[in-house]
């Protein structure tokens, strides 16, 4: 284990942080433990009283405690260090794994630890009696562990490994109810869409590694801020390729299609995936590589910004027409991820991470709240909900808190983070994008209010009698509601901007804009957009008549149809990518396979079988077997004769014995 002390080398300017001491040295524990726990759950989980859930809970609670301590360390003095373990070398290439303990990683550890702990507690109850309960917790633990591998990674290679592990775990979890074709298709879709994006990431990593000669992220970042020519020449390409990878995991338009379908998984999975462990990976990657983008690939940032803004707007619009409660939240996630990516694109590192931070809490809250509702009414469709505020008061209150936080009203978390993004866009002079982001804030408020009204207001339209979920499920909601209220207070311009210091505590200095005081133009635009959105939606869906008729009043058929079909993206993919691939390409590959590959393989097979027969007959049967048989049969014949000596008569034996004695005695006498 090597603690590379690059502080003097990498961080020009005064180091305002420590190396984190023993806690940082043992951070590998929280990365490795989930995998050990997953193994234990797999093999022994079924024999335990809680079917393996207790091991998952204990592990995740430890991760939560450990990351809280790291966060505490980071808050009081700042922590930044890297640890490398050299596994082996191939030529000049060192295969290294390790872990990073710096502001960015610690923030991610904490988000994963907190959200996962609450989701796990929730899931023990939510999943009670479901199929493959134990396996579910295995995958869930692995999922959290994979994300920790990703965010703890000091090298691009380990990052890629974590990245793919997250993909695999999401596949397992989305397809948890794989007996249903739809669910397994959704899992497949998520996996393949991500895979397509991963190709970009992989090529990007190869390009970076070849041009810098190292896999270490911090060294790549160092080179990118020090005008290394070989890196500079490929910076734009590498920047875009990495962003393509991020587009898959962080569901950016047009690769967002997997995420809404991923709702097929159980609700705790959705909560975890949308808040902490999967979709944040792309934003994390961009944030981790931020000095690179800023230093050399600033043109790539324009692409990032464009896609972020398109995503936040386009996905928000689809959310308005959804009837499935979870899908509203899913598109909302896509849209909020658009905000984060747009923030990175506009050069606002802290703003993006701040939104990631607040979003993690209130989106987890909203998903768990939706899960609580779904658990009570046994359907996802908001058409069959309504009036639940009376039956489910706790879920209702917490859901409202989450909604307000997401819509961005002060003093809840979303207000501060969204405001910072808007302020950054405004400061960067992107007036068009700023306008779209404000419109996005309006859309966000609108669809969330619509969802709340359809779910909790009016009269109950479903069947049966829904009732409040029990405390194992509502307690995480209350805790998350607390976070959704307070998480934004760690970064209030002009009052306390601790969060900025947390996440900028890195070995590679971050140069970015973060507002020292409120940008009142951006603030009031965002706030007004949010308020108008809420007010308009409340007016249309609640005051004008029954909630379920609200859609009819604002419906413009052609637009509605376009949105309901999700801009025909899926159809487009099917018509122009999937089906052509399946028909043409698959045919060609099939021909190639049967005529060339198979034939070659068959030829080898026939030759090998002929040779084998030859060897069998001549060498094996004729040589070895024969020799062995001969030796055994001769032994047998000899034995048949010798055995006659054994008559069972004691006197004969004594005769033989005495004759022997006499012969030997005579010999001795004669010789001596």
């Amino acid at each position: 284990m090597v603690n590379t002390n690059l502080i003097s080398l990498l961080a020009e300017g005064k180091p305002t942080f420590t190396d984190g001491g023993i806690a940082a040295e043992y951070t590998w524990l929280i990365v490795v433990l989930p995998f050990i726990a997953a193994l234990i759950i797999t093999f022994f989980g079924k024999y335990l009283p809680l079917k393996g859930a207790e091991i998952a809970l204990a592990t995740i609670a430890f991760i939560f405690a450990f990351s809280s301590y790291l966060l505490y360390l980071n808050v009081i003095e700042g922590v930044a260090s890297e640890f490398y373990i050299n596994v082996g070398s191939i030529g000049s290439f060192d295969l290294e794994f390790g872990w990073v303990v710096d502001g960015l990683s610690i923030m991610m550890y904490f988000v994963v630890g907190t959200v996962a702990t609450l989701v796990f507690i929730y899931a023990t109850n939510y999943m009670k009696g479901e199929v493959r309960y134990t396996f579910f917790f295995t995958s869930l633990t692995l999922f959290a562990g994979s994300m920790l591998v990703l965010v703890s990674s000091p090298t691009l290679l380990q990052l890629l490994i974590g990245w793919e592990l997250v993909g695999v775990c999401s596949y397992l979890l989305i397809g948890h109810y794989w007996e249903n074709k739809e669910n397994s298709s959704a899992a497949m879709k998520a996996f393949i869409t991500n895979k397509i994006a991963d190709v970009g990431l992989m090529i990007g990593i190869i390009v970076l590694a070849l041009s810098t000669g190292t896999m270490r992220i911090s060294e790549i970042l160092y080179q990118s801020t020090h005008d290394y020519q070989s890196l500079k020449s490929v910076a734009y390409l590498a920047g875009v390729l990495l962003f393509i990878g991020a587009m898959g995991k962080s569901a950016q338009f047009p690769l967002h299609v997997w995420l809404p379908d991923a709702m097929a998984g159980p609700t705790p999975v959705s909560a975890l995936m949308h808040a902490a462990t999967m979709v944040t990976a792309g934003v994390y990657l961009l944030a981790r590589m931020f000095p690179f983008y800023q230093g050399m690939a600033s043109q790539a940032l324009d692409v990032v910004l464009l896609f972020g803004v398109v995503t936040l707007f386009a996905a928000g619009l689809i959310a308005i027409v959804q009837d499935d409660l979870k899908k509203v939240l899913a598109y909302s996630t896509v849209s909020q991820l658009g905000y984060m990516v747009a923030a990175i694109g506009s050069g606002a590192y802290t703003a993006a991470l701040f939104h990631l931070w607040t979003h993690a809490f209130f989106k987890a809250l909203l998903f768990l709240g939706a899960g609580s509702v779904i658990h009570a009414v046994h359907t996802n469709s908001m058409r069959e909900m309504g009036g639940l505020r009376k039956e489910m008061p706790r879920t209702y209150i917490t859901f409202i808190v989450g909604t307000i936080a997401l819509a961005g009203l002060p003093p809840l978390a979303g207000f501060f983070s969204k405001d910072e993004i808007l302020a950054s866009l405004n400061h960067g002079g992107f007036s068009t994008y700023f306008a779209i982001a404000v419109a996005g804030a309006f859309i966000t408020a609108f669809y969330m209010t619509r969802a709340v009204v359809l779910t909790f207001f009016g009269d109950y339209r479903g069947s049966g009698h829904p009732h409040e979920s029990d405390t194992m499920m509502t307690t995480p909601l209350l805790v998350l509601a607390g976070f959704a209220v307070a998480a934004g207070w760690v970064n209030i311009p002009g009052v306390y901007t601790g969060f900025t210091d947390w996440v900028t505590t890195r070995k590679n200095p971050i140069i970015e804009y973060h507002p020292e005081s409120f940008d009142y133009f951006a603030l009031s635009s965002g706030l007004i957009a949010g308020l108008v959105g809420i007010g308009l939606a409340y007016y249309v869906y609640q005051i004008l008549g029954k909630p379920e008729d609200g859609d009819q009043k604002i419906k413009i058929d052609s637009v509605w149809k376009l949105l309901e079909n999700k801009y025909y993206l899926d159809d487009f993919y099917f018509k122009f990518i999937i089906n052509p691939t399946k028909s043409t390409l698959a045919n060609i590959v099939d021909k190639f396979n049967t005529n060339i590959l198979d034939r070659t393989v068959n030829m080898f097979g026939i030759a090998a079988s002929y040779l084998g027969n030859l060897v069998y007959e001549k060498f094996d049967q004729g040589g070895i077997d024969r020799a062995l048989n001969a030796s055994s049969s001769s032994t047998d014949a000899l034995g048949a004769r010798v055995k006659l000596l054994q008559t069972g008569k004691a006197q004969q034996y004594i005769m033989y014995f005495l004759s022997g004695v006499i012969v030997i005695s005579l010999l001795i006498l004669l010789v001596l």
């Binding site: 055995k643 008559t647 004691a650 005495l658």
Partner: protein, 101 residues
């Protein structure tokens, strides 16, 4: 004192014992012959002990051990013979060829 006559007597006794073992058909007689061989050995022990004038009388002490063991052996031997006789109704040693191939 000459040891030769004693050794000759012992050898004679030994030969008689061997003859008995090889020739007699009755198991009891075979056992008796074994006793004769043992006693031939005893005589040898005592004779050589006396000849060498061993201060610790090792030869004679050995003889006593052999007598004791011979008694035990006869006890076991006779018991086996008794059981065989009960099962086979005969004491003919040629009938007892159970340990054959």
């Amino acid at each position: 004192m000459s040891v030769q006559p004693f050794l000759i007597a012992a050898a004679g006794l030994f030969s008689i014992g061997i003859y008995g073992i090889l020739v007699r058909r009755n198991v009891v007689m075979v056992l008796l012959s074994i006793e004769l061989i043992l006693n031939a050995v005893n005589i040898n022990f005592v004779v050589f002990d006396a000849m060498l004038r061993d201060a610790m009388l090792q030869g004679q002490i050995f003889t006593i051990f052999i007598i004791t063991i011979a008694a035990a052996e006869v006890g076991i031997g006779l018991a086996i013979v008794l059981m065989l006789f009960r099962n086979r109704k005969t004491a003919n040693i040629n009938e007892f060829d159970l340990m054959k191939w």
